[in-house]
């Protein structure tokens, strides 16, 4: 089980898409390739943009399908972050 603390990489307002891409490429995808479970810990993240969340997980869902969501957990998300993740997950499943 791998846990990634988003706040240490993206700060309390997660908006930097480059950071999101780095997390995806260097942590999420290698973990999935190793069939490992991942926890994205949003403790301390007060807000996030849809662009950040999109850069973080959309390509994971495109490559590994919705099964990727069985391996990824979103922890300590406030209501705003939770809803933005929900929007991205929903539209990726529609696409």
């Amino acid at each position: 089980m791998m846990e990634i603390k988003i706040v240490t990489i993206a700060g309390s307002f997660a908006e930097n898409k480059d950071s999101a891409r780095d997390i995806r490429l260097t942590k999420i995808i290698p973990a999935l390739e190793n069939n490992e479970e991942i926890t994205l810990n949003f403790e301390g993240v007060e807000g996030a943009t849809q662009s950040f969340i999109h850069a973080l997980i959309s390509d994971v869902m495109r490559k590994y399908g919705t099964e990727a969501l069985d391996k990824i957990s979103f922890k300590n998300c406030n209501e705003t972050v939770r809803k933005i993740i929900g929007i991205v997950v929903d539209y990726m499943q529609e696409s």
């Binding site: 908006e15 850069a55 959309s58 991205v88 529609e94």
Partner: protein, 321 residues
């Protein structure tokens, strides 16, 4: 180029100001202003700054400003950014002055620093600051990623006590929306390109629903929605076209978000002076700001509905013979 700062230019009445901008001879800039009073939206200042940054300081002429409110231009950093002298002294700082002076953002690190360190200067409540950070981040990232603007994004914001609103301007002198959108969707007019840019799920990077790994085509729709749900103005101007979201009627109990921006209460035109780049102005009301999370519910519903409709358009149809 010539730009005249009128006594009043906010998003509601910005049209005459835009139509009077002289965008010929890009090597020179002449700034003039109303002699009695200058009261302008930050987006107007951003436009002046964006024009001036492409001109040598010695080729910028600013007539002697006589308006009582001329110190506003000084305080917002216009002359400093353009590296020109102005004969204006600020004697005292207004206690109610909560503003972000004209700032040039050219890369992702500067944007993150701006979001973290500068936006708090507006002293907005934590529940309301999310909307402001959101708007600035998404709009500036659009400029950095798509505009090819050498000068980056010019940003400024101001709190207005009387209306309890934060007004934000973000301007670039890049390639404009039409060229960006045309990478994926051929459009004939700037207005058509603006319409597509405001439609959820449409990005200039791909025709694929869901976008690319980096772009979903949601940013501008989210920002227009933030303004709409809070019954405020949103304006976007690129090429010869301008689209303005008008304030929705106060008697509506629930805001309705449409995927098609032309279904919203709006005004639009295609007879504006040609602006190379993109201009965005948005007002965020603090007093009636809906909780951001409530807004997100509305956005999700509208977004998914639009994507489903787009997807349906691509369905194979049975062939009846």
């Amino acid at each position: 180029m010539e730009i005249y700062l009128p006594n009043s230019a906010f998003l509601g009445n910005i049209d005459p100001f835009l139509k009077k901008i002289g965008l010929f001879d890009s090597t020179k800039l002449k700034i003039s202003a109303n002699k009695k009073w200058i009261s302008i939206h930050p987006v107007v200042l951003c436009m002046v700054a964006a024009l001036g940054l492409n001109v040598k300081p010695e080729d910028i002429s600013c007539e002697k400003l006589e308006a009582k409110s001329k110190h506003y231009l000084q305080r917002m950093g216009l002359f400093k950014l353009l590296n020109i002298k102005a004969d204006i002294n600020i004697i005292e700082h207004e206690p109610a002055g909560r503003f972000i002076p004209l700032t040039r953002i050219t890369n992702s690190q500067e944007l993150t620093k701006f979001i973290t360190e500068i936006i708090p200067l507006l002293h907005v409540d934590p529940e309301q600051v999310d909307s402001i950070k959101y708007v600035v981040s998404e709009l500036v990232r659009n400029v950095l990623e798509h505009s090819e603007s050498e000068q980056g994004a010019i940003v400024s914001a101001q709190y207005y006590k009387k209306s309890n609103t934060i007004r934000i301007g973000i301007v670039d002198r890049g390639v404009g929306i039409k060229k960006t959108i045309n990478n994926a969707y051929p459009t004939k007019t700037h207005l058509e390109a603006i319409k597509l840019a405001l439609t959820p799920g449409i990005t200039g990077t791909t025709q694929k629903i869901g976008g690319t790994e980096y772009n979903a085509g949601a940013g501008l729709f989210f920002i227009k929605s933030i303004a709409q749900v809070n019954r405020e103005f949103f304006m976007i101007y690129s090429g010869n076209a301008m689209y303005k979201l008008l304030k929705s009627k106060p008697n509506l109990k629930h805001s309705i978000l449409y995927g098609d921006p032309f279904q919203d209460r709006h005004s639009k035109g295609e007879d504006y002076p040609y602006w190379g780049g993109t201009v965005v102005g948005v007002d965020i009301s603090l007093g009636k700001t809906k909780e951001f999370s409530v807004l997100l519910d509305l956005i999700r519903d509208a977004y998914i509905k639009t994507i489903k409709e787009r997807k349906k358009e691509k369905y194979m149809k049975p062939r009846f013979i």
